[in-house]
Symmetry: D2
Subunit: 168 residues, 4 copies
């Protein structure tokens, strides 16, 4: 059975979207695909699109759980799944995943991290990518993360960490 | 973008599960895969498993939207997506699909047909497969189906009909 | 703890909406309130509004689980709860209820009956009110209702039956 | 139409649960009821139970959106609504509310705050109550709260602020 790795991060409308976020996401997507796992995400733009592009560059499979319709999917989503749940679909991204990797992000990304911790799924925060990820990594709540939050300082380290958590 | 076809029908615990249901499901799954579309279903046993087997025999891709965990998936599911929603995940199978094909079935299948009609998605009922499908096809509610219920008398006809409805 | 009784039936846009549906709903709402229980429904017009009016005439409490916003509630809803789930909120009406009473209805009502049976909650069909209720009562699926479908031939009998099922 | 105010905070299993959390919650519940609004929450113990007790002391109405069953409700919940969604029901608490008041809290409370901001609903953080509320108020994310996060330094100020936000 395939491993599903969720990638969480901002859509293209985040004014703080940066090159480091996008490059990191693309490398994470490539790393997930290289290991034969499925990339699952919210299927839209920004960090999600970069990750999907990275996965497709390595012949990976990408699953996009979309708010309302297939038309919302970025062009690198193989399986566009409209949920009809709007932003509530974030919960499904977490439910679908064996492990979560988070990059930068805002309230939506934070909601996904919250639910991963609540559901007891490991989350790897890629530090240095800004947004809520760096705020969490710099101390906020980390002391009470129930053992589910991890940090990595690069895309490659994040992917390696994520797969080690799934296997353990 | 890939077309997603939902296949609805009974799990392995349906005491009315029959050879005609299973053979029809396998042929429908094969037909979906042959046309390059994705088979989406509830990912469990019975009719769902037969359809997934049919799709895999043709090198198709199968997406299983599962009640709670990956362990529930049948062995022919490529992408096992636990939803955490229990039987409520039926709604997601319908939301994910461009068109629905229904075989036999009980209350769960009927709930999916209801939601397809509510959401305005076409449903092809494969008549002769028993269960709620034959009851619906024999008159119940058909007169008030809002134009979304269709019938087919074989697996091949159902697949052909389904794809013609997506394209139109 | 209060008993919650769900009332399922058509919104005001059902062209088959009839006096018998509305009068029955109003009497059912009154009966639920008279017994000190809470009426829960989809909170909109038609049969739902009639039931809420009946409950308020007896100083009952009405809970409306709405598709998107409070503005959708009929004027007899005390507690308007927007769910953001659109028509998927039907599932919540069933989850919230101890017992379900169904009047007339279309696909939405049928989806609620399906989920009640799936969840193992008793449903009382008020026969003679048309719609899916009469179709179900006239034979469709009744033979395979898993023991959860009951019939009543009047509003009063339905309420009496519903409360006997909750207590048992 | 009634105003619904959500109260978010920890269940009884939070080892950081404190007198200040519980007393603040009880006062907030009383304040909500005194103004004729409905208290909506997750319906369980800890901060939720304290708020419900406060509301009932002022003859208020309390709505509890529960994970799975009515048996989970605290004794001060008037309307126990099982959702069948587990911890995912947090989203419904937010969807149901006109405004949110948060006290102390952990990942569940944070998930509710995230969704309030995502949905554009105002949140009043009662500072001095610990948990995620104090962490948020001390800077985390406040700079990017999209205008939906407010602070109050007492229960009374929080209630006053909440009602001013609903009216505006």
């Amino acid at each position: 059975m395939k491993t599903l790795v969720a990638l969480c991060g901002s859509d293209s409308d985040d004014v703080h979207l940066s090159s480091v976020m996008l490059q990191t996401a693309e490398q994470v997507g490539a790393g997930i695909a290289s290991r034969g796992a499925i990339l699952v995400c919210g299927g839209r733009g920004g960090v999600m699109e970069a990750a999907c592009r990275g996965a497709k560059n390595r012949q990976g499979v990408t699953l996009g759980l979309l708010p309302e319709s297939k038309q919302e999917a970025n062009q690198f989503v193989d399986l566009p799944v409209p949920t009809g749940l709007g932003m509530r679909r974030n919960l499904l991204v977490v439910s679908a995943a064996d492990v979560v990797i988070a990059i930068g992000g805002r309230w939506g990304t934070l909601s996904e991290i919250c639910y991963a911790v609540i559901f007891g799924k490991p989350v790897v925060l890629v530090v240095g990518t800004g947004g809520v990820v760096d705020e969490l990594a710099s101390g906020f709540l980390m002391k009470n993360s129930r053992g589910f939050l991890y940090v990595a300082s690069s895309a490659d380290e994040a992917v390696q960490k994520a797969f080690s958590l799934v296997k353990s």
